[in-house]
Symmetry: C2
Subunit: 309 residues, 2 copies
């Protein structure tokens, strides 16, 4: 099943696709949210299926809908960094486990909504990614149970400003306890980067339109990821190239951050460029504008125009 959230006369409505490409949808009753469905999906699913069957004749064309993020206010958006096999030969040193940062819910944006950039953001490039939507809550989830915590999959465009990343990097002498074990401190030359602006600014998280429920995606590591800028293909990759797989990531993260229903995990940028094309880093949306589009097989297409503000 494919589920999304749309806005109708200012109210949230859950949309359910009635065909495979997700071109027509039934809207569930007002007041029911995606969070409600995820919270108790096993109980809700049969009635959603009935609503789709009964309502198919009244299905609407999705082209005219105003999309919100499929989970409009996730408790967390956790993003895995540098998680593609194409990164490997660029990493001089780094962890062998998933490293993550958090994007705020205010950075999220629905399908079709304009990404509103400022000149102050500097360069901003797209990062096409598979995103996991968490179903059942959990902490310290064993690897063998990790997939049971996946409600479904969606698409996120993890917009990034390398300009703000460089600006918000400190080279400094960090305070460390003395290495020799005596009381007192010593200084260690350190670099540290803060992601609040370069990953978390308003509009830096287009997401959706659909969540494909887990049963629709038997293998999340066999999906093609395509990114198209102004009609030109810039990424043609596969989720098979993710270094840390979905079960690894869900299990690992849950050992540090308790996962809750509706939490989003962005699995890391699909990087493999189209033959003859550039890299996502060449696509400066601040200068070039949009639209910018990410397609993942079996899930759908996320497309957003770009506006300057």
């Amino acid at each position: 099943m494919k589920l999304g959230t749309v806005s109708v006369e200012g109210a949230q409505r859950v949309a359910v696709a009635v065909d495979t490409p997700g071109e027509r949808a039934v809207l569930l009753y007002a007041g029911l949210t995606m969070a409600d469905l995820i919270e108790d999906w096993a109980a809700a699913r049969p009635s959603v299926e009935r609503a789709v069957t009964d309502g198919a004749r009244k299905a609407v064309t999705v082209g005219g809908l105003t999309w919100l993020p499929p989970v409009p206010r996730p408790g967390k958006v956790i993003c895995v960094a540098l998680n593609n096999s194409a990164n490997v030969d660029r990493i001089i040193s780094g962890p062998s486990h998933p490293a993550t940062f958090n994007k705020p819910a205010t950075s999220l944006l629905g399908h079709g909504q304009p990404i509103r950039l400022k000149q102050a953001f500097g360069r901003v490039h797209p990062e096409p990614e598979l995103a996991v939507v968490i179903g059942a809550a959990g902490a310290d989830i064993p690897h063998s149970a990790a997939m049971d915590h996946v409600f479904g999959y969606t698409i996120i465009n993890d917009l990034t400003s390398p300009t703000m990343r460089a600006q918000d990097t400190f080279h400094y002498r960090a305070i460390h306890p003395k290495q020799d074990g005596t009381e007192g401190i010593e200084y260690v030359d350190t670099w540290v980067t803060y992601s609040g602006r370069y990953k978390g600014s308003d509009g830096f998280g287009p997401i959706g339109p659909w969540i494909a429920t887990a049963d629709e995606i038997p293998d999340p590591h066999a999906l093609t990821v395509t990114c198209v800028h102004q009609g030109r293909v810039i990424t043609e990759d596969s989720t098979q190239n993710l270094t840390h797989k979905v079960a690894d990531v869900v299990s690992y993260i849950s050992g540090y951050q308790t996962l809750e229903p509706g939490d989003i995990i962005a699995m890391g940028t699909a990087l493999k460029g189209a033959s003859g094309g550039g890299a996502v880093q060449n696509v400066n949306l601040t200068e070039l504008g949009g639209p910018i589009e990410v397609t993942i097989s079996g899930i759908g297409t996320l497309s957003n125009p770009v506006e300057m503000r």
Copy 2:
């Protein structure tokens, strides 16, 4: 006025202090949340004042209460990095504006609740900080209006693991567009640190117990900040040493991340050590345990035990 959130028989209740130190409190009716009050404080304040006057005889001693984070589920927790004048001579290069990261709501913990650490977290040290609670929503807030968006102030202990910080740092060749302007990419030697684990793990955000409303704190830059570990004073600082002031920070951040009612902004670590004492970085809670206590004048004392799990 001083407001907190407590849990009574599994339900959230807003507590309002009836005396200046906040030793006795009136509980407002069940169903009313801190988010509700913040959302419409001008309208709610008179009835809260009436409830305090009318209920003073039935006030409870706060010692026996189970505290939650004062805003139990803030939309965002934004933390300002390296924002103390004591940092200045340690910074070799870095931005002259506030640099920030986001902590997830799941990392927050109420006053008195145990910080549950794992050996896998490595070293974990306290960082005592003044936190701003946002009232009215806003984006691109002018400096002159910034203080109008402050609902009040609370205390946060921004727990940090330098072990996980080091582990989650990549030294890598970042992809940049070619400097000469021709199409294509080049590689730039870069360090980047991801804060998901070292700042965002469960229990890394003790906060509260009280929010002192803005009218109680005429000057947020004239407050003493004290951090006490197992009865030993490790920090004696003043918010006058914050490099970027509250109005600067609120205005600056709102240019990138839309601020919403109940959002928390942690203003940066109070660093000045007690005479003869060590630094907060010397206090490895994983090894030494708690309790760890932060007091800010005019707001209160946040104290948490430490447990291993």
